[in-house]
Every structure is written in C-alpha cells, then in structure tokens.
Symmetry: C2
Subunit: 215 residues, 2 copies
C-alpha cells in the first residue's frame, strides 16, 4: 500500500516527505491548492477538520499533524532506514525535548517572519521593520541556545541525526532561502555546521529538487 | 530515586504532575518563583537554557518541555498506572495527533487570552476587548472540531483516556476558572461531558488541591 501525502508543496508537509524518504517508505503526493481554498473543500475537511496540511492516508488509516505523522513512521519502521528516535527511552526523551523546542520556540518566530517578509508583500502589505526585528531577535536567542548545545553534541538530541533535527529542515531552508536571513545561521559556527550537514543529506536534497514549491 | 519536578505552580508543570500521578511515579516538587526571576538564575539555566518550567531531574537524567517529559514517563512506565499512549502504533499515532493539536491550536489562543485577561491587568494594562474576542473566536473554532470529534469517541484519540486528553487539563482549568470563560466548554455538550469526566479524575483533583497556585 503506497502512502498518500496530501499537500506537499509547503513547509509542514515537507517534514513528512523527508521523514518518509529517510525511512524508505514508498509514497505518492496529492497536491492541494491552498490559494484556491482546496483545503476548505468538504471532502478534505472530512480528512482534516482544521483544513491544514499535511494529511496522510495509509490504507484506511488517516493521520494529520506533521510531527505526529513523522513520529508514527519513525516508530512503525523503527528498524528500516535511518533510526530517528534514538536507541533508548532516555535518547527518545531527548529527541522529544528538542522536537518540542522546534515546535514551540523555533518555528513560531520563523512563521511570523515568513508572514511579514514573504506572504505579506505578496498580498500588497508593507512589511513592518519593527516586527521583523523583534522576531529576528527572538529567533536569534533560540539559535544562541542551539549554538551552545551543538558545541557539546553533533546533533540536538546527541551524536545521532534524529527527528528533532529533521523537523527543522523545511523552515530553515525557507529562512536561508526566500526569506534571505541566512546570516542567522551562518554567523553561528556550530549551528552552521549542523545546517550544512543535515541539508546535505540525500533525503533533503531530493525534497528540495522535487518540490521547490512555495518555499 | 524520587523524580524532582522544578516549578510546579503554573500550567505547564501541572501537565507533568498529573502524568506522574496517573503513572504512580513518586516525585517531589522544587518551587521556583518566576516573578523573582529564579528561572533566569545561572544554576537553573544549566538545567533549562531557555529559562522555562518545568524541568525534571531523575537521577542524572534531566529533561525539559512538559509534553516531552509526559511522553517519557508514559513510555518508561508503560505497564504501570494508566496506559496513556494507546495499545498499538496506530493508536499512539492518534494520541500524538491530538497532542499536537493541543500544543499547536488549542493552547496558543488560551495563552493569549490568559495574558490579556489575567496577567495584563495584574501589570496595570487595560485588556483589549477586540483581541480578547478574536482569541475567543479562534478557540471556539477549535472547540467546534472537538465537539464533532467527541460525538464519535469518548476521548480525543479514541475510547481511552490518553496523554492527548491529559495535556488539556491545566489550561482548561484556567479557562473555566480564573479566566471566567466556562461558557466555551459548557455550551458544547460533548466537550462539556469530556471536561467533566477528565477533570473528575483523582489525579487532577489532587493536583488542583495541592497546587492551587497561579492558576
């Protein structure tokens, strides 16, 4: 049974795509045009009542929320492809800790920056330099903690690439690309080495090549 | 070895406390006064570099982020106390899905409301009725999805109480209590039954009794 991934061409679905590639799980993508409101169509709302992407269908099993989907495949195929959860319950705990930091502290200021720098101007809005500066500073503080952490271990949860690192890929790509804020990464030696390492993985290069998409 | 929980008297730490009680894990609490900035002290920042609560210390293992800690104990003591993760990988997937909904969609508008309704006035700020209304509407839309979901199963991830439900306890208590927004729960039949059921659990009653705290 081939896994169906709905809505591939933006950040959150790419978290799922790169995970499936790392795990060697066969999948197909089902594009959804958010600008045309296809995510608000009644058929789609039956799969995802909030109208968000991604959603997966795997036989008669449906799941949404990108980090929940990534955890599901990392666990279902624990012994296939890259192990993304750590070898022990304690390592898994640290993977979950940094996955939560990504979701709660890293992602929100990037999302806010994206809205102000890229999406706003597309809709004719003038970016507010004060709000941009505030979010850059907020993100910078998070990256300072990462810089210190990555001076002690190669990846966030330890010396192994995990779901915690993987989960940073889509929005960091956006940050250093279309948002033109590469300096936030480049000016931090350990963060920069971490980003160069994980963005060079064949799985991520494939996602960027096949789905250049919105970001 | 008794688990130490730092910073019990606010919402996120209570997510950990109720989980530990459900799992029958012995613990002690280490109070931190956030208003005095004890969470910014160098010793504390060694445990939690962002200066947030909760943090746990379990022997020489340290972990932060409330939902990561809750997952860790739910997995470590899988066969002790209440099973909070589901019986299969598919059930765990649904637990993770609704746990993400709580973290990403339910919690943020309640946090915003808390800042505007309770914390702001404590600091002498006048609440902005427009912003309060916007967040109430945002939260109402999430609760509409819950109402529909809970018409099909007793709890969010299925017919079993899980980490996904448990994770809603602290902020919902705050919402119906100090924030005086009980109508958002009461006016929805299934959400109301769900809240009455889970807030009556001995574990939660114990948390409310022992740590009435800030909220």
């Amino acid at each position: 049974m081939v896994v169906k991934v709905f809505g591939p061409d933006c950040g959150n679905p790419k978290r799922v795509l790169v995970c499936l590639i790392e795990k060697g799980v066969e999948f197909e993508t089902v594009p959804l045009d958010l600008f045309k409101g296809e995510n608000r169509a009644p058929e789609f709302l039956k799969l995802q009542p909030f109208g968000s992407v991604p959603v997966i269908q795997d036989g008669d099993y449906t799941l949404f929320e990108s980090r929940a989907i990534a955890r599901y495949y990392a666990e279902k195929y624990k012994h296939q492809g890259t192990d993304l959860l750590g070898r022990t319950i304690e390592e898994r705990g640290l993977v979950e800790q940094w996955l939560e930091v990504e979701a709660q502290s890293y992602n929100p200021p990037i999302n806010d920056l994206a809205r102000k720098i890229v999406v706003g101007p597309l809709r004719g809005l003038t970016p507010d330099p004060k709000l941009i500066k505030e979010n850059e500073e907020k993100l910078g503080k998070v990256l300072d903690v990462y810089e210190e952490r990555l001076s002690k271990s190669k990846y966030l949860a330890g010396d192994f690439f995990s779901l915690a690192d993987l989960s940073h890929l889509p929005m960091t790509q956006y940050l250093v690309g279309k948002m033109e804020k590469e300096y936030l990464i480049r000016d931090r030696k350990n963060v920069s080495a971490w980003w160069n390492d994980m963005s060079s993985r064949p799985s991520w290069k494939k996602v960027v090549e096949l789905w250049p998409g919105l970001y």
